[in-house]
Every structure is written in structure tokens, then in C-alpha cells.
């Protein structure tokens, strides 16, 4: 039996439930996680267990006067000096995960995507869509385009004027979470790419250039995580079917240690 919602009710529902419960201090039934109000961190380090191939130089054939001077290379497999693998997304997959209130207060209002030096910076982002706005800016002296179509959400196809000047920025609000990162493209400069993952919570991390990642203040207890990398999609290993794993976060936090990934995993399918 489905309920009838007016538009206002629908939009307000999610926000009101959270705000109302918190404001009145009513006992919202505790999510089944051990230890009320206990939060702990998950950390780890991804390592590419081998010598990475040289990053392909991308074909820069538009706005060459401006973009030709940059050494623009493929960013789909970024391995650091001692093998650290960047750009691995690790995020909580469990529905309705409890969120640490301190995180809601500390979260930055915006996640910024810059068009700079003829590429998107950063290449990978996560966004807590209910709390954060996606802010897109152009720092290049050429017009840029930012286009993405998140499943079940409003598509974007934004043009930004050359910087400095007017209309060099735009904002976008995601209205739903996505199960995998959303690819971002530029219709004017086809070599550009980026990925953004909108989630309904802040528990999403991307591994740094040295391969390390940290998800802070997770609720103590059992959680399911998803691991994703642009080169392969779900980062499936013999332990992680479909790139997913379930673990129990203990009160003192959990370090997954060094996770070695075989080069064969990242082979591009031809």
C-alpha cells in the first residue's frame, strides 16, 4: 500500500525527520550498533603490486594554443613512488547508517571542482549531497563545459566563460545518492574527466597519492563497504566479491593495513 505524498511533504520529509528528532532530543530508536554514540575510524593503504605502465599522453587537439603547453596524461591509474594507488573509492554501503553529529557540524559547505590547466581538478571527489553543494569553477582563460548525468537525478551540462570574468562558476545540488561514482566530462575538451560520488552520509573516502585512506567517526558495529576504482569499476578481489566487504568496526578503530592489488586487476578490457 503506497502513501500519497505532496511535493512539499516529499522534499521536507527526509530533512524534517532528522532535524525534528535532533532538535527535540527525542529518543529516536538507536540504530543497532554497539555502544551508543561510539565512533571510530577505518584506515588502510592500497598498493599496486607491480610496476605501473607509463601514463598515456592524451590527445589534446582543441584550444591547443592554451592547452597544448600542458603535459596532459591519463589519470585512470595513478601509482605513487612506493606503489601507493590513488583514486580508490571506499564507501559505506549499509543503508541508513547512523552519522556522527560532530561530522555534520564540521562538514564543509562545498565540494569544489576546478577547471584548471585544461583538466578537472581534483580527478576524484565524494560529496555528502544533503549537506554539501557541488561548486564548479573555471580558472582557465578558455570556455569550459562540465557535463554529467547522474542516474535518476537532474543532468548537468554547464558552460563556464573564460576566466577571469563573469559566469565563471556554477553550483549544482545532487538530489539522490549514487551507488557508483558519476563520470564528469567536458564536451569541448574530450580528454578531460573526473568522478564524483554523491552519498547520503560522509563515510566515503578516496585513497591519497600514497595509497592511504581514512574514514573517520564511523558508528561502531557491523558495516558493509564498497570499493571502486575507475579502471575496473567494483574492485573485485578473491576476498571482496563485487568489491564489497563486511567488517565490524571496533571502538578503537580498525586499520586494514596494506592491501596489495595485483596489476592483472587493472588490465584495460579491450
Amino acid at each position: 500500500m503506497s502513501k500519497r505524498y505532496t511535493r512539499r511533504q516529499f522534499m521536507g520529509r527526509a530533512g524534517a525527520a532528522a532535524a525534528g528528532a535532533a532538535a527535540l532530543g527525542f529518543g529516536v530508536p538507536a540504530v543497532v550498533h554497539g555502544g551508543e554514540g561510539q565512533w571510530a575510524n577505518l584506515t588502510g593503504r592500497f598498493v599496486y603490486d607491480g610496476t605501473p605502465p607509463e601514463r598515456e599522453k592524451l590527445k589534446v587537439d582543441k584550444d591547443v594554443e592554451c592547452c597544448g603547453k600542458y603535459d596532459i596524461r591519463d589519470e585512470s591509474l595513478m601509482v605513487g613512488e612506493d606503489g601507493g594507488l590513488a583514486g580508490v573509492f571506499v564507501y559505506v554501503r549499509t543503508r541508513s547508517v547512523e552519522v556522527c553529529p560532530a561530522l555534520a557540524e564540521a562538514v564543509e559547505a562545498r565540494v569544489t571542482l576546478d577547471n584548471r590547466d585544461c583538466i578537472f581538478i581534483p580527478h576524484c571527489m565524494t560529496i555528502w549531497y544533503e549537506k554539501q553543494e557541488f561548486y564548479i569553477v573555471n580558472s582557465d582563460p578558455i570556455a569550459q563545459n562540465v557535463a554529467f548525468s547522474p542516474l535518476g537525478d537532474v543532468p548537468a551540462n554547464i558552460v563556464l566563460s573564460p576566466a577571469p570574468g563573469e559566469n565563471v562558476d556554477a553550483t549544482y545540488s545532487f538530489r539522490r545518492k549514487q551507488s557508483v561514482p558519476v563520470p564528469i566530462a567536458c564536451n569541448y575538451h574530450p580528454w578531460e574527466s573526473a568522478y564524483i560520488l554523491p552519498q547520503a552520509h560522509p563515510y566515503a573516502a578516496i585513497s591519497a597519492p600514497d595509497g592511504t585512506f581514512a574514514i573517520e567517526s564511523l558508528p561502531v558495529g557491523e558495516l558493509e563497504f564498497q570499493v571502486w576504482h575507475e579502471r575496473v569499476g567494483y574492485l573485485e578481489t578473491h576476498q571482496w566479491s563485487r568489491g564489497r566487504f563486511e567488517i565490524i568496526i571496533p571502538p578503537e578503530g580498525l586499520d586494514l593495513g596494506t592491501i596489495k592489488l595485483a596489476p592483472a586487476l587493472f588490465e584495460k578490457d579491450e
Binding site: 503506497s2 505524498y5 557535463a147 542516474l151 535518476g152 558552460v159 556554477a170 551507488s179
Partner: protein, 352 residues
């Protein structure tokens, strides 16, 4: 198998085809298919007997006129309008892969992605009723989409409503399939189906009304074009804007609007972009490029009235690389309304 899927033969009344575009259909199990087909049938019914899920605002009497086999009821009201006028190209499921689709360029619209190209609504929004009504009445010149202005008003309304129904059903199905197939997560929880998939989809259609770029506000900003000099001045300004680095029009449309810009040979709409580097057997139709408009042809798919061209430039063409030039939600736009009118004048002048 294909014939049964298309609804011919002794298999019974036509059924909606499951949207597995892009997926390897052979790896989808019976249980997965069931998890997709059953909840959708419960919410939306079948091609012969549509149901209206609560919260979508669809009108059952209009759907009844469009759905089902061709004929009329006891009171002489039309039935089966969609099958009579639309299904040959757009398919019974609205998948844009009807029997005549494969020979068309561009392909008929696949309503199931919830994207309509020629709208008056800003910012990635759905079309409003008038947009679809206009399309049906005028057709899409330069394509196989005919003008249906000979149909009665009520019949056109019924078809617009049915397209909306197919679209809402289609987008809901996309989300269900993403969960069941891509995420390998089934069955679908009913609350999730209604609240996370169905209602937000229906909500986008309601929201479109508030994002219309109103003709009544746009037209007064048009420059005076009474004299030859005024018109020439507008065309010159429009050409300067068209060629400027600001909006990058020439990238696709070329330096003189002949659709021969540097990007022109590598453009795809969203539906076809998905097919790049993917096994072709996962898609109903082969990949098809998108050609940017050559203004010198003087034919414009979305209509060639000044306001039609204004809308195309202002809000862009959804689901294609053609971006929104004018202001929209979250973005100031690279062209002001007056500037857009000048660009429109330039574009029109090319077709003369």
C-alpha cells in the same frame, strides 16, 4: 524470442520489454528478471491495462485512450492511440526501438530515460505539457516524426499523458535495474521502490513547471527588427557572440554555422554515448552519431520560430552535448537573454 518480446504471435497480450540496455542480458538470472518485472507490473500495469501509481498525478482516463489495442469503446471513444500512431517507431515499451526504428537517423526517442530534447525548461528539467503538445502537433521537421495536428485535442492530450507514463515507468525501471543487475541486490524493498525510485522520478515532472523559461518574459527582450539596418545590426552582434570564445558554438556548429566544427564528427547523444567501447549486442540499435545542426539547411528539429530557437540556445538540448547558454538554476549562463536573441537572429539569417 524477439517476436514474442515485441508482442506478436500467440504468446498473449504485449508486455513491456525489460530495459537491459548496456547489460549482458544472458547473465541476468530468472530471479533478477522477476525482481524487476513483478514490482513494475504491480505499479504500472501492462501495455493493454495501465495502472497509475499514487503520487504520479497521471490521469487514468487519458491513459485508457492511449493504451491497449487499436479500436474504440462502447461510447465511441478512441482506444489504442499509442499503438496506432506511435508504437511502430517508439515501440510498445517506449524504447525507441520499434519495427521501423533501425532505419531512422536520428532514432526515435527512447522515453524510458526520461530525457526529452526540445523543452522550454531550464537546467536539465523535464518538459512541461506544452512542450510535448507542441512536439506532437508540429512533429519534428527533418526527422521521421510526423505532425499529428489532425488528431483531436483530447487525443493529443492522451498521447502526451501516455508518453509521460512510459517515461516515469521507464526511469523507475532504470533505478530498479541498477539495483538488481548492477548492484546484484534483490528483491527490491517496496519502500525503496516507492520512495527512492518512483516518487522522486514523478517529482521531476512536477518540478519542471517552475523551471520554464517563459515566453512572455523572453520575447519583450528581443531587439527591434523593424528596419533592415536594425536587423543587420542584430545579425552582426549575433555573429560576434556566436564566434566568441565564450560560448564555443563554433566548436560543433562551425565558423559559419554549417555544422562542420572541429568537434562535429565525434558527437553522440547520451543514449548512443553509452554504446562507445561496449559490445554492440547489449543494445537494441547500433551506435549512431549526432550531427550538429547545419543552419544553412533552414530546418530545425525543435521548430524554427524565433522563440523555438531562443529556447534551444537558452536551455540547451537535453541529453546531447548542446549546453544551456542562458541562465539556469545554479548557473549564470554565458549569454544574456538579449544576446541570445541576437544569436537567434544570426542563426535564422543563415537559412535564408
Amino acid at each position: 524470442m524477439l517476436l514474442l518480446a515485441a508482442g506478436c504471435g500467440p504468446a498473449g497480450p504485449p508486455q513491456f520489454r525489460v530495459n537491459l540496455e548496456g547489460y549482458d542480458a544472458e547473465r541476468v538470472s530468472q530471479f533478477q528478471r522477476q525482481s524487476i518485472v513483478e514490482p513494475l507490473a504491480e505499479l504500472f500495469g501492462t501495455p493493454d491495462e495501465p495502472l497509475v501509481p499514487a503520487g504520479t498525478g497521471l490521469q487514468p482516463e487519458l491513459l485508457a485512450m492511449a493504451a491497449g489495442p487499436v479500436g474504440s469503446d462502447e461510447e465511441g471513444r478512441s482506444r489504442g492511440l499509442y499503438r496506432q500512431h506511435c508504437a511502430t517507431c517508439h515501440g510498445v515499451s517506449g524504447d525507441g526501438a520499434g519495427p521501423t526504428a533501425s532505419i531512422q537517423d536520428p532514432y526515435p526517442r527512447d522515453f524510458r530515460w526520461g530525457v526529452m530534447k526540445y523543452t522550454s525548461t531550464a537546467g536539465g528539467a523535464k518538459p512541461v505539457h506544452e512542450d510535448l503538445d507542441r512536439l506532437l502537433r508540429r512533429g519534428i521537421p527533418g526527422t521521421a516524426m510526423p505532425a499529428f495536428n489532425n488528431l483531436a485535442d483530447e487525443e493529443i492530450e492522451a498521447l502526451v499523458e501516455y508518453v509521460k507514463y512510459l517515461s516515469i515507468r521507464g526511469e523507475t525501471e532504470l533505478l530498479v535495474v541498477a539495483q538488481v543487475v548492477q548492484q546484484d541486490d534483490y528483491p527490491v524493498d517496496r519502500d525503496v521502490l516507492i520512495e527512492d525510485y518512483l516518487l522522486p522520478t514523478a517529482h521531476w515532472w512536477e518540478l519542471a513547471r517552475s523551471l520554464v523559461v517563459e515566453r512572455a518574459e523572453a520575447e519583450p527582450l528581443r531587439p527591434a527588427l523593424a528596419t533592415h539596418d536594425e536587423r543587420t545590426a542584430s545579425i552582426r552582434r549575433g555573429y560576434a557572440l556566436y564566434s566568441s570564445k565564450n560560448a564555443q558554438c563554433t566548436q560543433c556548429h562551425g565558423p559559419e554555422g554549417r555544422g562542420d566544427g572541429p568537434q562535429a564528427d565525434a558527437l553522440y547523444d547520451d543514449r548512443n554515448k553509452r554504446k562507445l567501447n561496449e559490445p554492440p549486442e547489449r543494445f537494441a540499435l547500433p551506435i549512431q552519431k549526432l550531427r550538429p545542426r547545419d543552419f544553412t539547411e533552414g530546418i530545425f528539429h525543435g521548430g524554427s520560430r524565433p522563440i523555438d530557437l531562443y529556447w534551444r540556445v537558452h536551455v540547451g538540448i537535453k541529453g546531447t552535448p548542446m549546453p544551456a547558454g542562458g541562465p539556469g538554476p545554479g548557473s549564470g549562463g554565458v549569454l544574456k537573454p538579449e544576446e541570445i536573441w541576437d544569436v537567434v537572429e544570426y542563426v535564422r539569417s543563415r537559412g535564408e
